[in-house]
């Protein structure tokens, strides 16, 4: 049983490798096609043609495309993501400093959205077709229409400016204590959590309603089980699979949402670095970021896949 599950995960891992290679390659190709000349970025204002040629040779921009890609890939494998031409810092070191910031933000956001999704979704499913269901559904629909940056601006307006409960911008690291961290992270996490929370509400409701209509629920009723057990045991474990699937999607989206939210709240995470490097034309940092995020997302998806094995015994034996 265990071995087949490991094999399942192993297979997923093996499939993930080409995906990651492909995504970095795609980005590399796009950069090749890009009108932006990396040498021009390095050369600063008004460079002479000689200076540009010199930089091209120095950084190897004149070598064949594939050579450069393979070299970059090989270095990346060894933990060398290159040096940013703008900040002159190691890209990996910079990213590694920022990763825990964004990760902690995403974890808090995930917590908020899960609590919301499970509570609202379950309440709606148990009152299917009723007023409460309609209400929950409407709330979810409304919240779906509030993208993270709108939520962020509104939250700042109401909870930082009009009634100053939280600071409007800034960041305190977790190492300074959970209190300050929460103070600075709650609003950004909330802005990130709204759409995922609404999404999870709908998904939990749908999955639970579907599970409650299955034949095995009728069987459970036929043997006289209490409603608590039917919902909490029989339906819940089966409803978990589609919910976990969405959870993986939601985490991916949160990393995307962090781009805007970190900008608004001036949080020095991965999102901020992506916008900065675009505005600075720092493609080397961006390339490193793509690789890092691709790996992160792959790991999340892998965890989702692994959890299927627990919820669905069929996967363990096949």
């Amino acid at each position: 049983m265990v071995s087949s599950m490991t094999r399942f995960i192993g297979k997923r891992l093996l499939l993930a490798v080409p995906t990651i290679i492909l995504v970095t390659l795609l980005v590399f190709v796009l950069m090749e096609l890009s009108p932006t000349d990396p040498a021009a970025v390095l050369a600063g204002d008004n460079p002479t043609p000689e200076r540009l040629a010199e930089i091209r040779e120095l950084h190897g921009f004149d070598r064949p495309f594939l050579t450069r890609y393979l070299e970059w890939g090989w270095n990346a494998l060894q933990g060398d993501f290159g040096v940013s031409p703008v900040t002159h810092q190691s890209v990996l070191a910079d990213l590694m400093y920022r990763l825990p910031i964004t990760a902690s933000l995403v974890v808090l956001a995930l917590f908020f959205s899960l609590v919301m999704g499970v509570v609202l979704g379950t309440v709606a499913a148990l009152n299917k077709g009723g007023v409460v269901d309609w209400l929950m559904n409407s709330i979810a629909n409304l919240l779906m229409a509030i993208p993270p940056f709108v939520a962020a601006v509104l939250l700042v307006l109401f909870l930082a400016i009009l009634s100053p409960v939280f600071p409007a911008t800034g960041y305190a690291d977790l190492s300074t204590g959970i209190g300050p961290w929460l103070q600075f992270t709650t609003l950004p996490a909330l802005s990130l959590a709204i759409i995922p929370g609404a999404l999870l509400t709908r998904q939990v409701r749908g999955a639970l309603v579907d599970a409650l209509e299955e034949d095995y629920v009728r069987t459970a009723r036929a043997k006289g089980l209490q409603r608590r057990l039917i919902v909490g045991k029989h339906a819940a474990k089966n409803a978990a699979v589609p919910v976990v699937t969405v959870l993986g999607l939601v985490i991916t989206q949160m990393f995307g949402g962090a781009v805007v939210v970190e900008r608004i709240f001036a949080i020095p995470g991965l999102g901020s670095v992506s916008v900065e490097s675009v505005l600075n034309g720092d493609l080397i940092t961006l390339q490193g970021l793509v690789l890092l995020v691709a790996v992160l997302v792959t790991v999340v998806n892998l965890c989702v896949d692994a959890s299927y094995g627990y919820f669905n015994p069929r996967l363990r034996t096949r």
Partner: protein, 292 residues
């Protein structure tokens, strides 16, 4: 008496499912869904193909029309070897040999009007204009016992029995000589089953069509088939005239199948107290066979 060539003659038909060993799959997981099957169907006759789920009956039905590609064996249909036929020829062949499926609710395109479904083969196989196609479709729809009003309906507006008759009309519109009937009445109520069976019988008498009639229901096969072939786990166990197979089955499995038919009168109650445990392994094996 002159010897007529059989409508369908199949030799050594084999289909293997599963994949070869790869980097991740050390052991090839192969399964012979159909294993060296030989069949003959004479013109105007019906061959009943029986067996339980997973026996490979439906696969045989699709193989003989090359709706799925066989891995080995020859298929002679209407004096032509179709096992090596090109795709284009194969498509033209389908006006002479076609198929009726188990579930009439899903075997008709839910987004097409009945008249369009029935007339579709004419678009593919003939140069008939719209008016002619409509006329022929109407004729055919009437022949299977429906009327003009049904032509303008969508499948969801009709009952299972009616839909199966539509499927028959669609199959017959190009006047084929051979039809594979894959469990054509399994999805229908008892009282409508009989209507469809009668219709199939009448059409055979009228047009001399040959049927390959696939069913799990031995009662049904007994009523409609001239010849019977019993399948199990991809292999043909025995073939023979319907009278012979039902009266004097040659294999234990056929006997077991016959014994399992529910009785038709309380006076014939035939429980024999045999324990089920002995058959469990069997069942598990068959189960295994379904999983591809």
């Amino acid at each position: 008496m002159t010897t007529t060539n059989p409508t369908l003659s199949v030799r050594g038909l084999t289909k293997v499912y599963g994949r070869r060993a790869t980097l991740l799959r050390r052991h090839p997981h192969q399964l012979k869904a159909v294993d060296g099957v030989d069949l003959d169907i004479a013109p105007g006759k019906t061959l009943g193909l029986v067996g339980e789920s997973g026996a490979g009956k439906s696969t045989v039905g699709r193989l003989v029309l090359r709706l799925i590609e066989p891995d080995a064996g020859t298929i002679n249909l209407l004096d032509t070897d179709i096992s090596t036929m090109s795709r284009g020829d194969l498509r033209r062949m389908r006006s002479h040999a076609t198929m009726i499926f188990q579930d009439p609710y899903t075997s008709l395109d839910p987004r097409m009007l009945i008249k369009d479904s029935v007339a579709e083969p004419l678009i593919v196989h003939t140069d008939d204009n719209r008016a002619t196609r409509h006329k022929k479709a109407l004729e055919m729809v009437r022949r299977v016992g429906l009327d003009t009003a049904h032509m303008e309906r969508f499948p969801y507006e009709m009952s299972g029995g009616q839909l199966q008759r539509v499927a028959i009309a669609r199959a017959l519109i190009t006047d084929p000589s051979f039809i594979v009937c894959d469990e054509p009445v399994a999805a229908l109520d008892v009282s409508t089953q009989a209507q469809v069976i009668n219709l199939l019988n009448d059409l055979q008498a009228e047009r001399g069509i040959s049927y390959l009639f696939i069913s799990h229901d031995l009662r049904l096969v007994r009523l409609i088939a001239d010849e019977v072939a019993v399948m199990r786990a991809g292999k043909l166990l025995e073939t023979g005239s319907a009278e012979r197979v039902f009266a004097a089955p040659e294999t234990d499995y056929t006997r077991e199948l016959l014994a399992a038919i529910p009785g038709r009168s309380p006076r014939h109650r035939r429980f024999n107290g045999e324990t089920a445990a002995s058959v469990e392994l069997d069942e598990a094996e068959r189960e295994e066979a379904v999983v591809v």
